[in-house]
């Protein structure tokens, strides 16, 4: 399922003294099965953009096509509900949305809302909780008794259990310890590959964007600046500097080495690739 934006404009609190243009005539597309990153500074319109993708916000002007569903300014809630079914969203600090008396019931909340029966919902909930390495002993515990990291996993399972076609992640690793950070990102990568779903990631961590995403959309002050392959955009030092974004560690290191005369045959995409290329270079230059 593709998502297409057509001249999407989003204005907050139109016709009030607080009026604010958050997105300015954005036309772009999210294709099925790809891993996208949305980058840009705070206030660039990233969050507004993703909230338009599943009808949490409706366009002020323009259209959003979610598969065969069209979302416009005055689209009915019933239609919007259909879009929410297909586009799952993990918010920043998702653990703040937990409310049920047990972990399993909280994960079942979403699936049941979109029309799954009790048994099916429980089955999905158990499957995704296990996928996220949540211990079975915790299923019947109160979610508020869990640790922060576990709470986040439960909340993420709650979205995955709805089995959306598109998964939107808004800073999913904010406030996690380094180990959980890697674990979570690896897991989303695995889910994206195995289930073949589209993933859209918002983050300030350029290393994550570089390592995991296929394509990047760069926003600045409500305008779409660039849209293209991750490798092209995140290796463009001048562009990143212009919009005050960090160059990914691997890219910077490779460029630094190049200036010192160590040139790889291609730009490494992951840490492993970097190590591989470096080892190869060393072997080639061994005395």
């Amino acid at each position: 399922m593709n998502i297409r934006l057509e001249k999407l404009t989003s204005i907050y609190q139109e016709n009030t003294p607080f009026e604010h243009l958050a997105l300015n005539r954005i036309s772009t597309e999210f294709e099925e099965g790809k891993y996208y990153g949305i980058i840009g500074q705070t206030g660039s319109g990233k969050s507004t953009m993703i909230q338009n993708l599943n009808g949490l916000l409706l366009p002020s002007y323009g259209e959003v096509h979610v598969g065969d569903i069209t979302l416009r300014r005055r689209t009915k809630q019933r239609t919007v509900h259909q879009a929410k079914k297909r586009v799952g969203m993990v918010f920043q600090f998702p653990e703040h949305q937990l409310f049920e008396e047990s972990v399993i019931r909280d994960v079942m909340f979403g699936p049941k809302n979109i029309g799954m029966g009790e048994d099916e919902a429980r089955e999905k909930a158990e499957y995704y909780l296990k996928l996220l390495n949540v211990d079975e002993a915790l299923f019947d515990k109160q979610p508020f008794d869990l640790s922060g990291g576990q709470m986040r996993k439960v909340a993420i399972a709650g979205i995955l259990a709805m089995e959306p076609d598109v998964l939107i992640l808004d800073e999913p690793t904010a406030g996690l310890d380094p180990l959980s950070h890697i674990e979570t990102m690896e897991l989303f990568g695995k889910i994206q590959k195995e289930m073949g779903i589209t993933v859209i990631l918002i983050t300030h961590d350029m290393n994550d964007v570089y390592e995991y995403t296929d394509e990047v959309k760069l926003l600045n002050q409500g305008n779409l600046i660039r849209s293209g392959s991750t490798k092209d955009i995140l290796t463009d030092e001048a562009l990143l500097r212009e919009y005050e974004l960090e160059v990914p560690d691997i890219v910077r290191l490779t460029f630094d080495l190049e200036r010192k005369g160590i040139k790889f045959e291609k730009m490494p995409g992951t840490k492993e690739e970097f190590i591989g290329l470096y080892t190869k270079w060393r072997d080639g230059h061994a005395e």
Partner: protein, 265 residues
């Protein structure tokens, strides 16, 4: 939806209304609350409306904006009007449907009360819209200071007020965030039967309460580590400065009251 609510909101600005000493504004609003009840026929009400409208204009706020922000309160006003319409008797009978009658006195009283309520709400909204919560509580603390003789904890009450005012927008934002998160999980509290809508409130209120309690606790700790111990030894960064224009505001208000009182019938 919630972002349009104006209750307790402050819009920074530099109009004359903004610059009046908050103490003067509070006293003026209190006076206005009394004056509203002086009006008892058309001219009086007309003057009231004119007065409030010109204040709104002076504060640089648009009426449409105010109206949108106060929609919810409109319900209350309509309800009061209906009560008068059906239950105040007198004058000529306009509609007689057997089990209820609408009489002319009911309509007139209804309109009067509606105007009174609307003006009271508008003027108090103007007060909070043009005065920052901090200076508002500062002013209340100053005005109530004499009560300290009676052992009323004026400072503590003012502090509680300023904290709650300060957190209204935060809680609103938080509510909106949680509503979004739950509705992304397919929760539908905008459609469906009344029962299902009420049920859909649980997933919103529980996370909201939890975060509010957490926030309160963090706030208390943060205040304590910064050495807060009530009023003892506290000085104020902003010092209120009563000027001639503030006295003028009070005098104007009193004059307005006298005018309204003399044209009473």
């Amino acid at each position: 939806m919630l972002s349009k609510m104006l209750l307790g909101r402050y819009i920074p600005g530099n109009s004359l209304v903004h610059r009046i000493d908050p103490r003067a504004k509070i006293i003026a609003v209190l006076l206005f609350m009394i004056i509203v009840f002086f009006a008892n026929h058309w001219t009086g009400y007309l003057l009231l409306i004119l007065f409030v409208l010109s204040l709104t204009k002076l504060a640089g706020l648009s009426l449409i904006f105010l109206f949108n922000g106060l929609k919810l309160i409109l319900l209350l006003i309509v309800f009061t009007f209906m009560m008068h319409l059906f239950f105040t008797k007198g004058g000529t009978v306009l509609v007689d449907a057997g089990w209820f009658t609408i009489e002319s006195e009911g309509i007139i009283r209804g309109i009067y009360i509606t105007i009174r309520l609307a003006m009271l709400i508008l003027i108090t909204t103007l007060l909070t819209l043009t005065t920052s919560p901090l200076s508002l509580t500062d002013a209340i603390e100053r005005i109530c200071r004499p009560l300290k003789v009676l052992r009323v904890p004026v400072h503590e009450i003012a502090m509680m007020m300023s904290i709650s005012l300060r957190f209204i927008p935060t809680l609103m934002d938080e509510t909106e965030k949680i509503i979004k998160a739950q509705s992304a999980r397919g929760s539908t509290f905008m459609t469906g039967s009344l029962k299902s809508r009420l049920n859909a409130l649980t997933p919103i209120f529980i996370p909201l309460f939890i975060s509010a309690f957490k926030r309160a606790e963090e706030m208390a700790v943060a205040m304590e580590v910064r050495g807060y111990q009530g009023e003892k030894g506290r000085t104020s960064y902003r010092v209120l400065d009563w000027q001639f224009k503030d006295t003028a505001v009070i005098i104007m208000m009193v004059l307005f009251g006298i005018i309204l009182f003399t044209i009473r019938q």
